[in-house]
Structure formats: C-alpha cells, structure tokens
C-alpha cells in the first residue's frame, strides 16, 4: 500500500505547534503562502487494507493446545502489522479441508491463511498456505520447522512464519520477529537495560544496577547491543554479545559517552563523546576494543544521536551548532551537513532515527509545548515535516524494520510506557507500560537466525 502523503495545507490543520514551527518558513499563516512541499496536516488512511483471515490451523487432537497457540500468535502478528483488515472466520468455514473459495469470496476476503501443525522428534512442522481467494488458488505454501514450546525460541519462530506470510501477501517486511531494546530508570535510582518482543511478550532485563545505563542499540544481526554506562572508573562505550554474554569496551576515557549507532553492515559504530567543549561524533570499529576512532564532527556545541541511512552513506544527528537543537543530515564522514528541521523561535528537535527503508528521519520536537513525534525527509531538508502524534508527551522514536511502525516513549491514554504507532493508519498501541522506559531501539528482523 502506498503511504498517504498530503501536500495540501487544509483548513483543519494548524496545531499551534506546527504553525509556530513553520513561522520561519511560512512568514504568513495564510495557507496559500506555505511553500510547496511543506505539510501542516497529518492524515491517516485506514482504507484500502487487504481483507485477510486465518482459518484455525489443523493438527492432531493431542496437539490442540499448541495448534491453538500458533494460530493465536499468527493472527495477532498479522493484526499488529496494521496492513490487513482481519476478518473473523465463520463457524461453517472454520473446519480443515479443501478451501471453498467461492464462500470466502462472498465475504470479500482477499487472502486466507491455512495451516497444519504436526509433531517431530524435537518440535513441530508447520505447513502454511496463503490462498488468493479472488483468483481461487494457492498463492504461496511452505513448511516451516518450529522448536518445542518449551524452547525460548518458540514464539520467535512462529513470528518468523508470520513475517513470511506478510512478505507473501504484501511483498513487504513484517515486524513480528523483532525485538525492542530500551533503558529504564527505576524509583530506587538504579538503571536497567531491557528487551521485549515486538508484541510486548518476553520482557526481560539484560543488565542493571546502580551505574547509569543509556542508549542501547541493536547490531544489524540482532546478536549484539551497544550501550553506554557510567561506572565508578568513568563512562564507557560497551558492546555486549547477547549470545555469549561477553562485553567489549569499545571506548573509554571521556566524561561522557552517549548514543551509539551501528552502520548497516554492523562493522562500525558511530557515537557521541564528550571532548573539551562539548559532545562530538566519532566512529569506531565494532567487535574490538581500542580501535582508533575517526572523528566525524568538530563544530563546538553538542553533536549527538547519530543514525545511519540504510545504505550507510549518510547520517542524521542532533546538533546545537546553530545555538538551537536541530536535526542535521550529512555524509557519513560528517561532511556536507544540512539542517533538516525548520528554524523558528523556541523550536527544538531531538532523537533522530533514519528509516531502514528510505529517506525519512523520525525525531521528536516542540515549539515550547509537549514533545511530539515528527518525520522529515532527508532529501528535502527544511521541508515536509509531518507530525505523527498530538496528545501527551512523546519522545525518543525508533523505526521498525518495515519503515512504517515507530516505537517511542509516550504518556498516552494508557499511561506512561513504550508505544507503537503505525505511520500509515495512525494506529497507536501500548507496547509496555511503565514509568521512565526510554531510549527504545527497534531491532532488525531476527527471523533469519531462527
């Protein structure tokens, strides 16, 4: 489905925030004078979604519990993709066997998912078919292996199947087989690093204690997390292998390290380090201690929160080089920096994250009011900022690998916690409730490793 982009400045628009934000760009608030490409309104579209149903999966009677669990996970994953209108399955069509395409077609269904779970020595085979109801034929079919339900990989394996189904139907990456890393500041003034599956399950702490812990980010292969910490001997930039549990100190010896970001091939990490005068961006090799870092910025003020474009050739980051907090886009070596966010009195922008699928950069910002999540286009600096959220305080966004969902720290209708917004439909869901959950980073797909 195409992302809805509306360049017209309609009459409804103009949250005060955005009018203030664009006061510089649009000297007059007469909407006929807004420069081409500047968008003051966010509209979402829920129409045009494909109608999909998941027929209860087949399996031997003793496996009914597992079969039901697999079906529930797949159904929820497809729903959380926000790509489909999930149709309920009528009782008379819920039984296994040949698909009655005509009956499904009369329900305006486009794709039907059927499957069968059978036991193996150490797990299950999961035979999945996606039917194209309109053309009355099998669309795609494949048999997956699943580990035993007692395996810690069980749910993630099913999520991998869900993402394959999304790929078959929409030819787009899914987000079911992904995780979110984040930090938590506790009431007793201790700090934790945690990870949670993208459906909110499987929350677990990977590190914690009295030392400050900040800025966890996933390596592209999902095996490592880089973060920064203040221990008694000082701040350092650390990479932790989640498989072996081994930690490598990538850099140390400064008063402050923050905001690491992996390049798309995982071999390098850009980060922010305190040098006399302020934070500057550096880049070093991942996986080894003591590599010689390369300096990316030398502007004075603060430069932090680097984020790579998907081709690794550019970065976006936060800089105060103009005296205000603005998002900049530059070449990966820091050269050729251009300001992405529009000027304006009292505006500030933070926390950029570059879309893994394009040129969109998400960040949070404000013109004096609560922070909201916004998106700009790296190829159109200063123009076309979309505001995605409008209620509560919302900060620290991070793209999902599908380039359409974003996780962020919010204080929405369901209280403080991590929320997920779908930038196409505007659907917002609570991922994990809790105070001081922050600095979230959405992983790449973990399906390949399952």
């Amino acid at each position: 489905m195409q992302r809805s982009i509306h360049t017209t400045a309609g009459a409804l628009l103009a949250p005060a925030l955005l009018m203030a934000t664009f006061a510089g760009a649009a000297a007059q608030q007469d909407t006929t004078h807004i420069p081409p490409g500047v968008e003051l309104e966010t509209r979402y579209s829920v129409s045009g979604r494909r109608a999909v149903a998941v027929r209860p999966f087949a399996g031997p009677i003793p496996l009914a519990g597992v079969v039901g669990q697999v079906g529930a996970i797949v159904t929820q994953d497809l729903s959380l993709s926000d790509r489909y209108d999930m149709l309920p399955v009528p009782t008379d069509l819920a039984t296994p066997g040949p698909v009655d395409y005509q009956a499904w077609n009369s329900l305006n269904l486009e794709y039907l998912v059927t499957g069968e779970v059978t036991p193996t020595a150490d797990g299950f085979l999961f035979d999945v078919t996606v039917h194209d109801v309109v053309f009355a034929r099998e669309h795609r079919r494949r048999t997956f292996t699943l580990p035993a339900t007692t395996s810690p990989d069980f749910r993630m394996s099913v999520h991998g199947v869900s993402d394959e189904i999304v790929q078959w139907i929409s030819e787009q990456p899914g987000i079911a087989a992904t995780r979110i890393a984040f930090s938590r500041f506790n009431a007793d003034q201790t700090y934790d690093l945690l990870i949670v599956d993208s459906d909110g399950e499987n929350l677990r702490r990977i590190l914690g204690g009295p030392s400050q812990l900040h800025s966890p980010v996933w390596s592209p292969d999902g095996q490592r997390i880089a973060y920064t910490t203040s221990e008694s001997e000082g701040w350092k930039l650390v990479e932790r292998d989640l498989v072996t549990g081994r930690s490598t100190t990538l850099s140390t010896g400064s008063q402050l390290f923050l905001t690491p970001a992996y390049g798309p091939d995982g071999s390098r990490v850009a980060y922010s380090v305190w040098l006399p005068g302020g934070l500057e961006l550096m880049e070093t090799a991942s996986g080894q201690a003591g590599a010689t870092p390369k300096r990316l910025t030398n502007t004075g003020g603060d430069n932090l929160a680097p984020t790579y474009s998907s081709d690794g050739r550019r970065i976006a980051f936060l800089s105060t080089r103009t005296g205000q907090e603005h998002i900049f886009v530059s070449n990966a070596d820091g050269s050729g920096a251009r300001q992405l966010t529009p000027p304006g009195r009292g505006v500030e922008f933070h926390g950029p994250d570059w879309s893994p699928t394009g040129t969109q950069v998400v960040f949070h910002g404000s013109a004096g009011g609560p922070y909201q999540i916004m998106v700009g286009d790296a190829d159109r600096p200063g123009l076309q900022i979309r505001q995605l959220t409008s209620t509560g305080w919302n900060e620290d966004p991070s793209w999902a690998p599908d380039g359409r969902h974003i996780v962020y720290t919010g204080s929405g209708a369901q209280g403080a916690g991590l929320y997920v917004i779908d930038t196409v439909t505007g659907t917002i869901r609570l991922l994990t409730r809790g105070a001081k959950l922050r600095e979230a980073d959405w992983s790449s797909s973990m399906a390949a490793r399952q």
Partner: protein, 189 residues
C-alpha cells in the same frame, strides 16, 4: 557498592544544601565532653575552663557547618543554558575564599537538567553545567585537580512537578565536599 555509597553522600549533600538555602544551618551536634572525668564541683576554675573549651568547640563546629553549607549551596541555571547567572555568580563568589583558604578540600560538582529535552541531551547539558561551574572556580584560582564533575541529566529532580517553578529548581549544580570537610577553616581566620 562504591557508587551507592557515593550517591548516599551526594543525597546527604542535597538535603543539607536544600535546608541551608532557605533556613538557618541545622543546629550543631552537642559539644563533645572532655575525656577526663569531671572534677569535684568545688573546682570552679576547672569547670569554667571546660565550659569555655566546650563552648569554643561548639562555635568551631558551627562555623565549619556554616562554611560547608556555603560551599555546598546549590546554584541554578536558565533553561537549556550552562552560563553562570548573576545569582549563581554571587553564590560561587562566596565559595571561592573558603576554597582558597582550605586547599585540602576536594569538591564534586553534579550537573542536573529539567526533564525537557531528551534523556541523552540532558546528560550532556548536566555535564556542561557542572564543567561550566568548575571552569568558573578554576578561573578564580581553584586548582582544577581538586574538582570532579559528573552529570545525572534529568534523573534526579528536586521537584517532580511539571511547572516552570519545578523545572527551575531542577536546573542546578550540586556541590559535595569529598575531602577536607572536617578541617574547614574560615578565610583569613
């Protein structure tokens, strides 16, 4: 555990400084008794001498507490700024002569921010504030090696409110004497 202990000390510093901001210094601890056993009541001279010594000790302790409260008095900053304001400069100028007169005193300066910004940006802002204060003191002759700085960003608000008054209280630098507090002497004294 080392860090926990340090935080506990810092927390005490906060309480102390917070109290001293708007109230008189807390009452000094009771004077220590002479270690010798009390003389017979008839010996009024000895009694007078002991009382005078106790009174002197009490005064000295009160003066040390006063000096400490001056050194550990917090200073405040404008939104998103690390520049030393006029009111902060006055507070720092009260610290300078004490620090000069007590070269054995070591100081830890903790920078803090209000909750606006991002978690990470505020860590940088807190460090910038703490270093700004350090640089000010160094400019007035305090050896940089006596001062350490650190940042807690937005994580240690004095006031959890979301009002400008709360934010103002939270944009601050805290001072903790980490060595030499027990031997403080008055400038020129």
């Amino acid at each position: 555990m080392i860090r926990r202990a340090a935080l506990a000390v810092a927390a005490l510093g906060v309480v102390f400084a917070a109290c001293s901001k708007n109230e008189p210094p807390p009452p000094p601890p009771p004077p220590t008794q002479p270690t010798t056993t009390r003389q017979p009541a008839a010996n009024t001279n000895n009694d007078d001498a002991a009382a005078a010594a106790a009174e002197a000790a009490r005064r000295a302790e009160a003066e040390r507490a006063r000096l400490r409260s001056v050194v550990e008095e917090m200073i405040y900053f404008d939104y998103d700024q690390s520049a030393i304001r006029a009111d902060a400069e006055a507070a720092l100028q009260r610290k300078v002569p004490i620090l000069r007169a007590n070269p054995g005193v070591r100081l830890r300066i903790s920078g803090h921010a209000d909750e606006r910004g991002s978690v990470e940006y505020n860590l940088a802002l807190g460090l910038r504030r703490a270093n700004s204060v350090r640089d000010y003191l160094v400019n007035f002759g305090i050896d940089a090696s006596r001062i350490t700085t650190e940042t807690f960003g937005e994580d240690r608000p004095l006031d959890p409110g979301m009002t400008e008054a709360a934010y103002q209280r939270n944009r601050r630098a805290e001072f903790t004497i980490t060595a030499g507090a027990d031997n403080l002497v008055s400038p020129g004294g």
